[in-house]
């Protein structure tokens, strides 16, 4: 187990592709995506029932042990969530990878 950071990003589903591309550019070691979440926030309810998926959220989970990378990721996410809503959380954890 090594100490690391746990980044969680809630973002609307149509933005997922763009975020995945951004993360690749930043060379994060990996990420996990939970699709089709719904929710509610300043921009009203996202029911997750929309016919083209444009009213769903998804959640990205990124684990890394590099504080500088955390900064880079949150910086990169900021414009995305200020444009179309969402949230970014950072907390600490112990992690075990293969």
């Amino acid at each position: 187990m090594t100490p690391g950071y746990r980044i969680e990003i809630v973002i609307e589903e149509p933005m997922a592709r763009e975020l995945a591309r951004t993360l690749k550019t930043l060379r994060v070691p990996g990420y996990t995506v939970i699709p089709r979440a719904h929710g509610s926030g300043d921009r009203g309810i996202r029911r997750g029932d929309e016919l083209a998926g444009d009213s769903s959220n998804c959640i990205f989970l990124i684990v890394c042990d590099d504080r500088a990378l955390v900064e880079k990721v949150t910086e990169a996410v900021k414009p995305l969530i200020s444009r179309s809503g969402g949230m970014c959380l950072v907390s600490e954890c112990q992690s075990l990878t293969h």
């Binding site: 149509p14 933005m15 309810i45 029932d49 016919l51 083209a52 998926g53 444009d54 444009r83």
Partner: protein, 330 residues
């Protein structure tokens, strides 16, 4: 005339739409699973595209066809322009551009409901109207973005530059447009032979699937309508304006489309369908594109307008109304 309305309201697809709305209003927990709803919608696009393609392969392509397609594109590009200036009276630039794009574009499900209405009334229509539908999805998005870009406030030395690549991509290659056009091409290539092979999937169950899909649409539309009601107190949304616009735009646009259609001397069925295309507003393709191209616009304005007001209005009252007008004009 009331007869036509009653016949429409008592058709199975419309009754299932009411059932879906009723489920929400009595707060029943009836719900169509999300992936099923998406698939039913893909199925309808696939089937209408294929049918349209086969019809195109069977009928000779006359000059009428190209003129109609041209008129459709023109309509879809012109509607957002006038709408934008009307909408600017109450909405910000981004929201006005988004609503304008929504009303310039079309709703495939409204079109499909209209074809099943015509089939039930035994009025013939031509396959190339499906092509018109496909062509009308995209131009409105582009015009909407141009309007936004022209009239938005710029800060400092910022340039009014559109990123054309992603915009055209979103507008022309989103899943719905791609599937309709693709299925239409395949239907065209395989013709009646292909139709014979896939008839039990493409044609026979069409109306039954439309019932199930409109059940879901009723649920979805009624939820949006209720959300609007809930947000009433907050006073953030110009509800009165939104409601009026969502009822008046389809009528104006229908009138414009009727005009074009009469000029082109379209048959009764085709005239109805062109009018429906004009009157309908997008709630799948355009919102999906706007999310990426114009995230500054608020989905809680443009989506309920097209989905919760214009869509029910069109399928309940609009279609038989446009039909009466078309009969009177041809």
């Amino acid at each position: 005339m009331t007869e036509a309305f009653l016949a429409n309201l008592s058709s199975p697809p419309l009754l299932f739409f009411f059932l879906g709305m009723a489920a929400v209003f009595v707060r029943s927990d009836l719900d169509i699973p999300g992936q099923i709803a998406r698939f039913l919608s893909l199925y309808l696009l696939f089937a209408i595209g294929f049918k349209g393609g086969v019809a195109l392969a069977e009928a000779p392509l006359g000059i009428e066809v190209f003129l109609t397609l041209g008129a459709a594109v023109l309509l879809s590009a012109a509607v957002p322009v006038y709408s934008f200036f009307v909408l600017r009276s109450r909405l910000g630039v981004a929201d006005a551009a988004a609503v304008a794009a929504t009303y310039g574009s079309i709703s495939a499900v409204t079109f499909i409901t209209a074809t099943s209405y015509l089939d039930a009334q035994e009025v013939t229509w031509s396959g190339y109207l499906v092509a018109a539908m496909a062509l009308m999805e995209s131009p409105a998005i582009i015009v909407g973005m141009l309007l936004y870009n022209r009239f938005r406030e710029t800060h400092g030395g910022e340039e009014r530059q559109l990123r054309w690549g992603p915009l055209l991509h979103e507008a022309c290659l989103n899943g719905s447009v791609f599937l309709i056009v693709g299925s239409m091409i395949i239907g065209y290539l395989t013709g009646p032979d292909g139709m014979e092979q896939v008839y039990p999937v493409v044609s026979a169950p069409f109306l039954g699937v439309l019932c199930l899909f409109l059940l879901d649409m009723g649920i979805v539309a009624a939820r949006r309508l209720r959300d609007l009601g809930d947000s009433d107190g907050s006073g953030k949304l110009p509800l009165g304006f939104m409601g009026t616009a969502a009822l008046v735009f389809p009528l104006i646009n229908a009138a414009a489309a009727l005009g074009f259609g009469v000029l082109l001397d379209l048959d009764e069925g085709n005239l109805v369908l062109l009018t429906v295309l004009g009157a309908s507003a997008s709630y799948i393709a355009v919102p999906a594109a706007l999310r990426l191209a114009l995230p500054q616009a608020s989905p809680s304005i443009y989506l309920p307008m097209s989905l919760a007001i214009t869509f029910p209005f069109n399928i309940l009252l609009g279609i038989p109304l446009y039909h009466e007008l078309a009969k009177w004009l041809t």
